[in-house]
Amino acid sequence: MKKILKVSMALSMLATTSLICLPAAANEIGWSPTISEKILILPPKHLETAIEQDFDRSALATELGSLEQTINGQVSFLTQLQSDLDLYHGQEQLEARHQLISGKRDYIQLMGEQIQLKKKRLVVKLDIYNRLLRQSKLSAYENSQSAQFDEVHAAVADRAANVDSSLRDDLFTSTMMPETEFAQAYAENQSAISQLVEAIESHPSNHIGGSIDGEPMTREEELRLSMQDIQSELAILAMEEDVLGHMAKLVSLDAQAFADDLNEFQYGIDGFEPKKYDSPANNIQLFINRS
């Protein structure tokens, strides 16, 4: 019985202190991304998949997976123990309660480790997106120069295409000579290009990208949205940590109640009352009355 008492006291101490040590174990495992900025050419959905696949190959993913399995086992154990608690009586019930408190403490510790690993995963993911965003901005700056050229060139090409047909007619009627081989090939290819461009415009996959208020999103906007999602996941993890903190407090209170019950069990089970010893004042009459 004394052993149980000692264990219970140690348990209540552990329950309150274990959460402080949570991040220590999670610091060892990491994720060093191996993907390059080339994934920027992928559409947003596939970009996310590529990052997740890279994570899946990391030691962090392996650790998170095994931790998840351990947590599931722990939850099953606790659920079973809690439902069977009423079946035990006396010392056996105390032992079962002891196991329940100990199991809850382990569960909180495991969940704390899992949250730390999840955080680590999200922080690395956020770094990747930051890197991609920087690369995207750089590319956008480089592309702005060529975009100016493309714009002027497209205007020139449109303007020339508008008179192409009439120019061919004028040349034929004015010179009375057949078209040059180049002119014929040019016209054929131009017609083919026009049909292909039309097909590209009407292709469903050409309109798959995301949009804001009907306007197509830029790559930077897409990356920022993904980063917002990661930041919201981090915020949820912070809330989950709060939940764990409250759980730890409850376990600590359970441990305290358990220790009280244990004391009661040890010292109050037989209705033990401390002995009262006689006082000389109670027998004073013996000395006052003379007969």
């Binding site: 060529s146 050229f149 060139h153 008179v163 009439s166 120019l167 010179t175 000579m177 002119a183 040019y186």
Partner: protein, 126 residues
């Protein structure tokens, strides 16, 4: 002196070793310059000039299309190409003339600010 000779020899050998890289814009420029010189040549007859301008018109039309479809200009001569594109009226003589339903000669003269009355009052000078 010897050093100078050696340096000039090296430069000369480099100049001969490097091939002349004429892009599509250079070719158009050359053809346009020849067409304009024939257009302003006072030593040839009107039928000769007309005949030359007809064949030049075909070549210019083809060369202008080559320039418009030449994607290599963006990397090889972006500044020159931009300048040429922005001066559409004078670079693409054939296409610009077709827009106004004019002959190349008339279109060019109008673009550079030469009217018939200007030409009539003009005097030959040294």
């Amino acid at each position: 002196m010897k050093r100078l000779l050696a340096l000039s020899a090296i430069l000369a050998s480099l100049a001969t070793a490097m091939p002349a890289m004429a892009n599509s814009l250079d070719n158009l420029e050359r053809e346009r310059a020849i067409a304009l010189s024939k257009m302003l040549d006072g030593d040839i007859s009107i039928p000769q000039r007309s005949e030359y301008m007809m064949s030049s018109w075909r070549r210019l039309t083809d060369l202008e299309k080559i320039v418009i479809t030449d994607k290599s200009l963006k990397s090889s001569a972006p500044a020159a190409a931009l300048r040429a594109f922005n001066s559409y009226e004078l670079t693409f003589l054939s296409h610009a003339a077709a827009e106004k339903d004019q002959m190349i000669t008339q279109h060019w003269a109008e673009t550079v600010g030469l009217s018939t009355s200007d030409l009539l009052v003009a005097r030959v000078g040294r």
